[in-house]
Symmetry: C2
């Protein structure tokens, strides 16, 4: 929705802020949270549109089905919760009925099976011109395990799971017609950090957590805003096989961005790797400046990094 | 999705039936149900597309906002639950940004305020050609109050709230350019039976319940199928101001269709009217034949009634 998206969301959040919350947490994190006693449920929703979020020519139906689910499970994992169920709405054009729809459902089903999530509701309807998909993902966790963007503390280590930049490098490869590079495959086969998110949710030394959907240059600002802190990120520390712009401002990596109490970071990252096989890398530190600063080998960086724009 | 919709949904339900349910009830009712201890949460989702479910020329942006919410709250009410929160995804075309989007949000907000529901999450994005909207509604009720389509018993009275047929008569008026008849206004200003659903949820003598979205001729079959019963409906008993075809096969009335233990019907309908100001009318009876039979003054009717097709 171009530049107006954020002000529109801001307007909506303040408009509805005056209504009763009925036990739900207001808009702000990857998911809303509702108290169930010992546990909490978290819920998130994402809409994917043909020719905006996917091209039927560039992704297979199975890949679109998988991605529709994974982008939502990534939001659940980012709260430290275990994904348990989804609701799927799908509007199909005439040309997408039959083969495409079946491929989509196969991809959605295989990813659901992998993640152990149920499909518990939905809606199917016709669409005139483009396929439209909406997924709701629901997760569950003990209340104390839920991670929020507001929980970063000054002095915390900023860390990321896995490596960054492959997805946006892959998108560029696909735009050049190179559909089968390692990065292009990474882009097409979306994978959320499901086991990792649940594991990190159980650890008290993890403060704020969110998933990286628009690139860390843009996403860290959500943690800064809600935690009322600053951040300093060392460019040379960012784990990537590609150009630093992909790794900082490229979107759709679906890795986790989190803050960890400094003295616990080393032991946590070792245990994390043993448990999940995924690396946790320190890339910076939460500061009290209120600003985002980039460094290169400790010196202020001149690089200008903007967020990734989806279209 | 034309005739293929139901087989596609059937395929999906059986495909996912083998996966773990994680505490959620499988697809079948207006909403899925998840156990929260004393209470249960219910959840439903509906997608509305421009030129399929609404025309920007025939409904105001406020009316579309209101309707998007109300069709979902109607599903929550039909479970006997109190709506508490919603998630809204909206994809806007260039031409719908600004004024139309603001009108939509005003309508959605006003209806949310009326119903006392919070907006707890969502997604906004761009769309190339048509506006697409997806709403998730969440309700809450004591577990024992949840009403299911499977709970009709042979001998039960079949009853409906309010009057039927105004919405589809209104749609026809609108198709002829008569935007301001009472029926057209009824169609445009969607109203779910929220207080009524919650009130009926608390009553043990109410068996099955659902909302009327496709017309009773079509909707009663869901109760018959899930309760493994038949039904007999008296055409002259159906409360309507319009032709019987609108009242039986017209869609989008959003009244409630329910079954009530025979000996309790009279006292229940009196109490219901006192509490809500809405009439409850007996229109038939659950039978053991497995079939749907229509009568006119007690005699078998020759009338042939099909379900309403949305497009």
């Amino acid at each position: 929705m171009k530049k107006s998206e954020f002000s529109f969301i801001g307007d909506i959040a303040s408009m509805f802020g005056a209504l009763p919350h009925n036990g739900f947490e207001p808009i702000g994190d990857d998911c809303t949270v509702v108290d169930m006693g010992e546990d909490a449920l978290v819920m998130t929703t994402d809409m994917l549109l043909e020719d905006v979020h996917f091209l039927r020519g560039a992704s297979s139906a199975e890949e679109v089905g998988r991605k529709s689910l994974m982008v939502n499970l990534s939001d659940v994992a980012a709260m430290g919760a275990k994904p348990v169920a989804t609701l799927l709405s799908i509007a199909l054009t005439e040309s997408a009925q039959g083969e495409w729809a079946e491929g989509f459902m196969r991809g959605y089903y295989e990813a659901s099976r992998e993640a152990g999530v149920a499909l518990v509701g939905g809606d199917t309807t016709a669409s005139r011109d483009k396929v439209a998909i909406n997924v709701v993902a629901i997760g569950r966790a003990p209340k104390g395990c839920i991670k929020r963007r507001s929980a970063a503390k000054v002095g915390d280590i900023i860390a990321v799971t896995g490596k960054l930049g492959a997805s946006s490098k892959g998108l560029v490869d696909i735009m050049f017609g190179d559909m089968d590079t390692p990065a292009a495959r990474h882009h097409r086969i979306a994978q959320a950090r499901i086991a990792e998110g649940e594991w990190l949710g159980r650890r008290k030394e993890v403060g704020a957590m969110m998933d990286i959907s628009d690139g860390i240059a843009s996403d860290i600002k959500h943690i800064m805003e809600l935690s009322k802190v600053g951040a300093e990120i060392e460019l040379k520390a960012i784990p990537t096989d590609y150009d630093i712009r992909y790794a900082t401002t490229g979107g759709e990596d679906y890795e986790l961005l989190l803050t960890v109490a400094e003295e616990k970071f080393e032991s946590l990252s070792e245990e994390f790797f043993t448990a999940t096989g995924t690396r946790l890398t320190a890339i910076g530190r939460i500061t009290d400046t209120g600003e985002l600063r980039w460094t290169e080998e400790g010196n202020p960086s001149e690089i200008e990094l903007k967020g990734f724009t989806h279209f």
